[in-house]
Symmetry: C2
Subunit: 578 residues, 2 copies
Amino acid sequence: MEVTSLNFQEVLAELNEAIENATFLSIDGEFTGLNSGPDAGAFDTPAQYYAKLRSGSMDFLLVQFGLSVFTFNTETQKYSQRSYNIYIFPRPLNRSATDCRFMCQTSCMSFLASQGFDFNKLFKFGIPYLTANEEERLVKRLEEKQKMREETVGGELLHISDVDRPQIEEICRKIDEFITSEEEELVIDKCNAFIRRLIYQEAKLRWPNKLRIESKLENFACSLVIQRSGTKEEEEQKDVEKREKERTEIQQAVGLSMLMRKISDSGKLIVGHNMLLDLCHIVHQFFGHLPESYLEFKSLVHSLFPRLLDTKIICHSQQFKENVPSSNLSVLLETVSKSPFKITEVESVEGRSYSTLADKCHEAGYDAYITGICFIALSNYLGSLQNPEVPIVLSDSPLLNPFLNRLLIARLKDIPYINLVGEDPNPNRDHIFHMTFPKEWKFNDINQLFSPFGGIQVSWLNDTSAYIGLHRRDQVNAVMKALGKTNTYKIQKYADYQASLGMAVHSGDRKRKLSSSEAVSTKKGENSVPTNGVKSTKDDDGWEVATGKRRRKRKDHIDVDAAQKTKPALFPQADSWE
Amino acid sequence: MEVTSLNFQEVLAELNEAIENATFLSIDGEFTGLNSGPDAGAFDTPAQYYAKLRSGSMDFLLVQFGLSVFTFNTETQKYSQRSYNIYIFPRPLNRSATDCRFMCQTSCMSFLASQGFDFNKLFKFGIPYLTANEEERLVKRLEEKQKMREETVGGELLHISDVDRPQIEEICRKIDEFITSEEEELVIDKCNAFIRRLIYQEAKLRWPNKLRIESKLENFACSLVIQRSGTKEEEEQKDVEKREKERTEIQQAVGLSMLMRKISDSGKLIVGHNMLLDLCHIVHQFFGHLPESYLEFKSLVHSLFPRLLDTKIICHSQQFKENVPSSNLSVLLETVSKSPFKITEVESVEGRSYSTLADKCHEAGYDAYITGICFIALSNYLGSLQNPEVPIVLSDSPLLNPFLNRLLIARLKDIPYINLVGEDPNPNRDHIFHMTFPKEWKFNDINQLFSPFGGIQVSWLNDTSAYIGLHRRDQVNAVMKALGKTNTYKIQKYADYQASLGMAVHSGDRKRKLSSSEAVSTKKGENSVPTNGVKSTKDDDGWEVATGKRRRKRKDHIDVDAAQKTKPALFPQADSWE
């Protein structure tokens, strides 16, 4: 179902109940761009990876959010499914709202448009949102406005300068005329804010309780509309209506954040496919700026979404390696639609669902739906491996525990995921060097240098530095002996390089280590989310160990440029279909 | 006429001739945003204004360019008109092209969408462009690629590491098989750049002149396609075709820049309505980054577009003040459609024109057209003031000279325009102060302070500083005496403040003063445009002197926020309709 500002309030009411009854939710997002800063290096630490993501990706917008609600009926032993494709755009609802600036990546916009994304709908009918902090500011401003309306004379009077005096007197003369006339209202055009405040003040002084004055914005100019007051009761009633209207406006401005808070509060299992970037944007747009500290980030995400499952994590695990040749979402759907996989029957809810045949890849609602379908098949397969077999594995099954709260990192060579509830994987990187070299050097210059020591992998950091991975780990000392000391280039062991950055290699958190149950607070007080205790679960290695072989898939694309040493012109790739 | 990548090459051919024969051109642009940096203060210098525009507006994109070509037929004494509404988007045409990141302003996107701007068309079929510098880089890269193809064995051989060796040998074995087979071609999947280079090398060594090898990108992976060579003539012919194809691709990538160079080279009169921002974006996107120096900017714009006319400059002049109550484009069209104005008859060119009744405001092509119509009416009116009367004033009439090469600055209180060919207006600012104060201060705090000295105008620079304009110029010394020395705030005379910035008040060019005929070169060598000598023409004051009265119109809108001391939430406003 398509959701825009035109039908959002109804959908929100419906979703409140649907989420409450859900077995699990699956999500997906589409963005205006992927990255604008330096690319992650294959041997960055997770904390360094996060820092690059935070500084290079958060200026883009999440513009479409897909939510699929799956509910298992124990009687019929079937799922029902409702899917929502939600357009998100921070249109300023009035002129005191923030007029946000955001970034776009040309290739992504072009790609989304080619996939049928409707940007006209987005910019016209996208649903706005506010973080809790922004909402608080708006409410406070409204209260000030209401207070100003109520202010009775007696406070400090504003001074009317000689320059403003004639205009004020002219307006007061018109008001005098209006009061004795039979006109319904008097409109004073083009009044700036200060003149308006002076008129409010003079009206209260000269005609107490006689007038009702309102500001009206039209065509970028503000007018004052002046009417005679009604009875006391009428005036009070009008005040109540006005406050109600203002409250509704704020509710509309909070918009999609209401749904996100609902999802967070539900505590339901949330399934995504390659969901790290989606989660970062969701936190950033709807809850508050991403914290600078990596550990605080992990705690924050876990406190907001205590049960997360990334289907890519299941796909890459040892049990699935053989039967899942590719975790690309469309290939995966094909894979799990055949034996040995089994998809529990899923019933559509009228007007709220997709079919797997819809072929709407890269529409967030559809991708969320497909992700949910794949999750059902993958978890059932886990059940089929048990003895005795478990035919239907639901979202609360302990069979899922090894996969929970782990978010795939595609870019790091030997750290496959972020563990939100404990230490991240900690691979041995003794065979990795950090190297700086002259700007002119290309892949072959480095390759030549290392050729006596077996093959290498080069992961460029910028024009003059890279990580070098040795294929033959026994050559580390030989390399340091032969290449360690020159003036042209500089080679350092990985651990020494990381230490020189003043960071602990794996936490990357320079300031302090958060104990796992410590409450988090985000930067600048932008957000303060109540935090659950974070339990550390032990890493039970179900992982394909990165071999000396390069990973293919997409990598080639980057290598082209790496070998030519130009900034890779990345094509859209970080969405669920990768 | 709508112009996208689907019909651009035909339109370009047509426009080459149309521009050549044109009497004048009118232009307009639509952008993804207006400003992201600090707003200009009402008493900034033009150089400071330019610096803010350069740093705060150039990350947005010009996404629609309107061009209207007016040609006067001396026989029929009528104009003919062709108008083009051109979608612009820097889609990367291939993966070695730059994948540009750009900024959007939410209110602008929302506003354009509400006016019917088709963003889907933009992102799918927008016409790309390259600056001269980018084109040069692309051509150079292509030449390197061609050279690599031609390279005969004899240069330095690439080393094949033990790790790569098995893959290379396997591929060579397949090639051997292929050569003796009857297959048409052999495809080697998923080869990274380095492996490809090694295969090129080995093929030349092992099977010289026997093979034709091409790289092919598909689904983010690169394959090698290997075929048997044809005869020498066939191979040469294929090479010629390939080079021709590559040349065409570059031509497509240069895209809209070809048209812009054509317009620049034509030397025709270019008419715009509030055209400063349009020109900045045009220079920035199609010619090269805007120079840091304000004087170099003026020289550069003048060298690219030697005859510019901003219709707002005519509207605001003394001769027109009485008959042009508003220079808002839609009001202006209404104004000039009646006596005393007279629009020379304009004939439409089939399928290439708008009518004044089209009501397509904010479509760049339409706005350009309306601007041209207004220009015709305004210049004819100049003729009607002559004795004897001149019925039709054409674009080369000396009557237009006082208005040429002056670009409206809407934001500065007493400097109405930039003069591209001489000194900018240099008003007396002795009655202006620069003031810093505590963050908590609002308009009324400052107003109270100055109340003994008559009215003031406050132009906020940020939370803690503002320009203060005294209405009573005779009070300057009294203010300095009474308020000059405190700890809470600091008041400085305008000239002292500007001097403290280390800038000449009116040039703002810290580094050097360019003599008017000096050649310019822009920053970073991004661009080197041949520069004409710039003649300084004397300012012949036809100008409404800014009075103590505040300008209304839109100003109100800003004052609201200024008085409340919040960052103004600007609504779209810098386009021609203001």
